[in-house]
Subunit: 245 residues, 2 copies
DNA sequence: CGAACTTTTGACAAGCATCAACACGTGTGG
DNA sequence: CCACACGTGTTGATGCTTGTCAAAAGTTCG
């Protein structure tokens, strides 16, 4: 099922955050042959060491990338929201160095890697947009290294919650500092380098300190200033604003 | 002091790892106006929150990027070797989200960010090379997240040592599994999310288990297989081989 | 309605941090 | 040229944050 133009719109929206496309570029991007699929939670997009020839864009829902260690423990290295390209790195290099898994029921668009490479080569503006989005990813990675490397459990989780609030706000999924967090406590643990049990106790502490409220999967930040302070959260690294030049 | 052609050669060498340049691209790159400087250990290339208009390439020596937290603790998020662009992200976005500091006496080349942006726009092949190098950086970041997030002290340090061996080998600074590691134990601690004291004890353990030998700043890996096993080291994430397509 | 997952609670253990101090080498200024 | 400060590496004693093990209560979904 090849799809109509507006399907890739969420991806385009994100790419145009840092580079403004010309009409021709926009058209060309939307004309990419994309295969649309609905995927259920838990499904794998790519597995570690897979050969990858398809790049998958997330149109709606959530996904995450993670690595598995020999002892069975996992580390989530990034969480993807709608508009993200899930496995750009894998598609460009042809092989996956981590797993990409769907977190909630999601809609994705698969694009042949060769197509993406072609359009990037033909249209410098598009390549630039892809590059800048990769640079932003790198900036977020750095912050995550800092998060798991040097913050205590309380700050780590607070930081994760702050980051989510800002990222979801941009795509309209967070209003009044309230959003539905699709992650289980086990997944939060795997993202922060903690155990689920400790995550549970730490979240309870954040609650009883009046920083957040939670109800099922919805998180409401009650004290934004307090939460950012305990997190040591400075928003710049997300590069959500416009870019120079 | 504007410099002669072969100065930017180490940078070119790295960029051509994943993309082969045409003669014209190569010429154009080497013709970039670059300002060459010798810098002493400890000097800052950029500081967190600086406005950045210059991109700095490392021609020889070592450097590292790190973040500082409110409580004064630091996290080193990457270590740079000769051939690396130190602050590509900062140059592209115009503002730095981390510090870049020189580790050993080094020679660097400064290129105006605007020049780099121009050449990238004009020459898709060069932009592609820059993009791919950013993708590789991201892959390394992911591995570091996993390192500090899910490995114990012993594995973390072993992993760092393995990574260094492979990266230095590529640029000819590691022979027979022996290299001079420019980092102090304090810096190793800041890179692995540990304390210097624990790093010290852990390195002693690695030594007494016959995995490595150290003498001043030189590290000799005595048991590569054993070290990679305790590290859980799988080399693919460094993407040192050729790239598909 | 029951199975599988998620959240929660308690008791206990351990890895790593903290504090304090000393040894060693290096560079620098008096 | 020596004294001294400073950074680095090393050692010991102690404590806290976080992990581990075990199990119950709540939730989701086929």
């Amino acid at each position: 099922m090849f799809e109509s133009k507006q399907d890739l719109a969420p991806l385009l929206l994100k790419l145009e955050k840092h580079v403004s496309f010309g009409v021709a570029d926009r058209e060309a991007f939307l004309r990419l042959a994309a295969f649309r699929k609905t995927i259920s939670a838990g499904a794998y997009v790519t597995r570690e060491e897979d050969r990858v020839q398809v790049c998958t864009g997330l149109l709606s829902g959530f996904a995450y990338s993670h690595k598995t260690l020999r002892d069975g423990s996992r580390q989530i290295v990034s969480v993807h929201v709608s508009g993200d390209l899930l496995n750009l790195q894998d598609a460009m290099f042809g092989t996956a160095s981590h797993n990409v898994q769907i977190m909630t029921p999601a809609v994705v668009a698969s694009i042949q890697a060769s197509e993406l490479i072609r359009i990037a080569a033909e249209r410098p503006v598009i390549q630039r947009a892809l590059w800048l989005s990769t640079l932003v990813d790198g900036s977020v990675f750095s912050e995550w290294i800092t998060n798991v490397g040097r913050r205590d459990a309380r700050s780590r989780i607070a930081h994760l919650l702050c980051e989510f609030a800002m990222r979801l706000k941009v795509i309209g999924l967070c209003n009044d500092l309230t959003y539905t967090l699709p992650m289980t406590q086990v997944q939060i643990a795997d993202a922060t380098g903690l155990t689920a049990i400790h995550v549970n106790r730490t979240i309870q502490a954040l609650r009883s300190d009046g920083l957040i409220r939670t109800d099922k999967r919805t998180v409401a930040i009650e004290d934004w200033v307090g939460l950012t302070r305990t997190a040591g959260f400075k928003v710049d690294y997300l590069h959500q604003g416009a870019v120079a030049a």
